[in-house]
């Protein structure tokens, strides 16, 4: 099978997954009757008679008096047309789609920076640990990653806050930017930056390099927390995978040719040791997204995760359901990309 055929087959497999994903969210908003879906789709600003009229209109629109499988298709239709209902939380009240436009860019920024950190730290230490097998630093790294692996992500977060934010005072512990830096700016209003809603990028677009630097420093603690929570698993897997590769014949051949250890490790061994790590990248994405919920909450970082916990605290079912669907979609797309990349890197997968 060539890469194109594989890609098309993988895309077709996406259809049942997406149907299943939407079905779960739909079932969740229907197990306790119509009130949940009404709560999702009624604008919080409507009151009194207008609310009653809107309720009747919704019942007609989603065919809420018809069998449940009929309702599913009307609901799916609304979702496909970008109508995801309303959210009503302390940090944002209005259509879900606007909330996503505001919060998702921040979460993507955080996840991308964390993913880069995970890759740099994980590969470096995983390979180092395997190459210096049973040395003191290998043992220290293994104990460290074992402990990190057992820690709840919120403890990693508060530990970093206490050490880097409170005692050493080198990093800010909350928010996305210092309020004094952004007062009176035309492109930053009420805590929202324009046009991309990611303050680092917006600041660069407007040439405000000081603000961009400040925002980057604010991003560091959340990103490091997220990275440390996930990197422990990667180090352990990469270590054992590297050890396995180093035991193979072609490595022995490379060594007997008289190549330096450095070249053997970096050019011959590392690439193949990374293969099993790529398969795990899908899991890493799931970990990143789940971790983002906790990290954003601890650091008051206005992303999708922060919005989700606010929705939980304010009993806002519209926000919870939309966030579940959104996180699911991101994970499905990420898994698709991982599979395609894997097929591209390792031809054996395609057959």
């Amino acid at each position: 099978m060539n890469l194109w055929a594989y890609t098309i087959r993988r895309l077709l497999l996406l259809i049942p997954t997406l149907l299943g994903l939407t079905l779960i969210v739909f079932i969740l908003s229907h197990v306790s009757g119509n009130n949940v879906i009404l709560a999702e789709y009624l604008s919080p600003k409507l009151t009194g008679a207008a609310r009653a009229i809107a309720t009747q209109a919704l019942i007609a629109r989603f065919h809420l008096n018809q069998p449940i499988y009929v309702q599913y298709f009307y609901w799916l239709n609304a979702i496909l047309h970008g109508n995801w209902g309303y959210t009503n939380t302390a940090i944002y009240s209005g259509p879900v789609t606007t909330a996503i436009a505001l919060f998702l860019p921040n979460t993507l920024m955080l996840s991308v920076v964390a993913a880069i950190l995970i890759w740099i730290i994980g590969v470096r230490f995983g390979v180092y640990s395997a190459v210096n097998r049973d040395s003191v630093s290998d043992h220290a790294l293994r104990v460290g990653s074992f402990t990190l692996y057992a820690m709840p992500i919120y403890l990693i977060g508060v530990a970093l806050i206490i050490v880097l934010g409170v005692y050493l005072k080198v990093l800010p512990i909350s928010g996305v930017v210092s309020p004094t830096m952004v007062s009176g700016l035309s492109w930053y209003v009420n805590g929202i930056s324009y046009p991309t809603h990611i303050i680092i990028i917006d600041a660069m677009l407007h040439g405000a390099w000081g603000v961009a630097l400040n925002a980057a420093i604010h991003l560091l603690l959340p990103a490091i927390t997220l990275a440390l929570a996930i990197v422990a698993g990667l180090i352990r897997i990469l270590r054992s995978s590297m050890l396995e590769v180093l035991d193979q014949d072609y490595i022995r051949l490379a060594r007997s040719k008289g190549l330096s250890e450095r070249i053997v490790y970096n050019l011959h061994a590392r690439k193949n040791a990374l293969l099993p790590v790529i398969t795990l990248f899908g899991l890493t994405v799931a970990g990143l997204l789940g971790g983002a919920v906790v990290v954003e909450t601890i650091f008051n970082y206005p992303g999708i995760g922060y919005w989700t916990t606010q929705a939980l605290l304010d009993s806002d079912v519209g926000g919870i359901m939309a966030a579940t669907l959104l996180f699911g979609l991101i994970l499905v797309v990420a898994n698709l990309l991982v599979d395609l990349i894997y097929a591209f890197v390792d031809p054996r997968i395609r057959y």
Binding site: G20, L28, M151, P152, V166, V294, V317, T324
Partner: protein, 294 residues
């Protein structure tokens, strides 16, 4: 018969020796036992450790700001004036109970579904696998949050939601274990000598396929407790007085700059347990896997 019993006893002795040879696993076992002992004392005789209200945190509103560790409060206090030492002792019982509940419900359901799916095969197997796929398409923390939110924001529903998120994992693992055991030569030999299908299933396949599954499941207890406390930490529980380690940590979050102990101690209590379970697990794997015995 006697000979067989002696052989089995030898095997057990070897298992114990292999396990004891692993010092870290032994430490893990001891720590886990301490946690279990604490939970049992809290359940049956909390007065033994001088604790009276096991099911609720005891606030002290005359002095709500966290106090540093002292003789009266060995781990200090957290907001609102809650003594951390006694609260952690109480919380361990609750966390342990609900984590075991998650593992028991999720694992039993998953294991049964996995075995049935692997045995029956065909369309049923395919359907079950697609359903597990769907569950894997949403990050588990968020799915548990959404399910729990719909069920109701209490500890019981929180653990039920986690069990609902967890069963697909065990279903898959049990299924693959059962399928790979089916392929062994001794199963083929049993088939060739005319043993009935049900007898092969219950006498030959399941006794060998299930033990690793159950080991894996009990090992997940540490991670489940971590995720359970994480859900409580981000504000899942509506009841503000329940002694739960994640919730205890969140109480001190606003005081992290002045009272680090208020977040450190409850968090460390969870980490030590998860670490101990993982260490214990490594030792148990050595015992179970004959290839690692040498």
């Amino acid at each position: 018969m006697n000979e067989e019993r002696a052989k089995r006893w030898d095997n057990t002795k070897l298992s114990i020796r292999v396990f004891l040879a692993n010092r870290t696993a032994l430490v893990g076992l001891i720590i886990v036992l301490i946690y279990v002992a604490d939970a049992l004392i809290m359940q049956f005789d909390p007065g033994l450790l001088g604790i009276t209200q096991v099911n609720t945190l005891v606030p002290n509103f005359t002095n709500p700001v966290p106090l540093p560790p002292s003789w009266a409060h060995p781990f200090g206090t957290t907001f609102p004036g809650v003594d951390l030492y006694t609260s952690i002792l109480k919380a361990i019982r609750i966390d342990l109970f609900y984590s075991i509940l998650v593992v028991a419900v999720g694992a039993v359901a998953g294991a049964v579904i996995g075995v049935v799916s692997a045995t029956v095969g065909g369309l049923l197997d395919e359907t079950v696998m697609r359903i597990t796929d769907i569950f894997f398409s949403i990050p588990y923390l968020i799915l548990a949050l959404a399910i729990g939110f719909i069920l109701g924001r209490s500890l019981m529903y929180m653990s039920l939601a986690l069990a609902l998120v967890w069963w697909p994992l065990y279903a898959r693992y049990t299924r693959s274990q059962t399928l790979s055991t089916k392929e062994f030569t001794y199963v083929e030999a049993a088939k060739a000598s005319g043993v009935s299908r049900t007898r092969i299933m219950f006498r030959h396949i399941l006794p060998n396929a299930l033990p690793p599954v159950f080991i894996q499941i009990s090992l997940d207890l540490g991670s489940i407790m971590v995720i359970f406390s994480t859900l409580a930490f981000i504000g899942f529980i509506a009841n503000a007085k329940v002694p739960e380690l994640g919730y205890l940590t969140s109480l001190g979050l606003n005081y992290v700059q002045t009272a680090p102990w208020a977040v450190i101690f409850p968090g460390v209590a969870i980490t030590v347990f998860a670490l101990a379970v993982n260490l214990l697990g490594d030792g148990l794997r050595d015992v179970i896997d004959p290839r690692r015995r040498s």
